[in-house]
Symmetry: C2
Amino acid sequence: MDMSPLSPFDIIPVQKFSAEVAGVFAVPEGSRVESRPVPVLRLELEGAVGDRHFGFTRKSTSREPWYARGTVISNTRQVTILSAEELAVVAGRMGIDRLEPEWIGGSIVLAGVRNLSFLPLGTRLIVPGGPALLVAEQNGPCRIAGKAISAHFEGRDDLELGFPKHARRMRGLTASVERAGALRAGDRVDIMVPEQWTYRA
Amino acid sequence: MDMSPLSPFDIIPVQKFSAEVAGVFAVPEGSRVESRPVPVLRLELEGAVGDRHFGFTRKSTSREPWYARGTVISNTRQVTILSAEELAVVAGRMGIDRLEPEWIGGSIVLAGVRNLSFLPLGTRLIVPGGPALLVAEQNGPCRIAGKAISAHFEGRDDLELGFPKHARRMRGLTASVERAGALRAGDRVDIMVPEQWTYRA
């Protein structure tokens, strides 16, 4: 086995920049997908207070086919982060005048991040003096969210399948809370992208 | 702002391969660094039972200078994963005949992984029918671990600073438990490296 390490020249250094919170939402208990705007999103280390995804643990779903469905696992899907710019692009592709973040269960909408859905795993989003989030994964758009969108557009049942198609790789990120705090629209978020490299087995 | 997404051709697909557990260890309460071999490592979603890093939360240290020291944050440093092959390389660089994983507080030693310390953030290590781990970060070698090593080699006080120098990017990974279970030497671990891409702000 070749144990030679990567060259340090292959490592992309940490990147830092800022963005703005455009909106905050919570998914009430009993809601299948949709979230509702809230004036303040109170983030504890278990997740967002009043959101049904709150908890250090959750049950696995079809998104984790490597675990038997319903296995209790650690919860890295506490919140869903969306991009205002990506939502507009996806709405355009789907031929609708707007795509509201609450229709697809967004928790936080950020404005001003290039390719938000491609922020790498482990990226930190830190509000000075406020909460901090740790990016878990790129989210995958599903038919259930598509159906929730189609309910807002009469005669557009096609949106149920159109959303998974047009929102692929533009459906934002899942994240967990690393530091507790309150989040509001207008807050500045400092984004810290970790070192990146390419691993090949 | 350019919102064009990455080309799908820039995305490196998921990689899967297997490795073997060479040893398991726990850091007892009261130990500064060193771990001790255990016959079985019982992993709960909070971490390793009987290890002082157990818990959904921990206090931040100088490793997270972006948080005030002592801030309660989510605990992604529950366990430390080391590579048998990297330990041998580092020992050779330091001019010592061996570098035991327990001297530097290793929880799990794996054998057969190329460049283990470069497994990307979000990599899953899954024991079939057993526990699963989620890689948090590449670990950084510190003087405290160096001093613990030097205690095993008379007249080699240089190892205290030699370790941070020679083990850079070969000090393994930190990880948290995603699925509970018992881990033993000889277990097979299925490694799933997530999709990779390069993000540029």
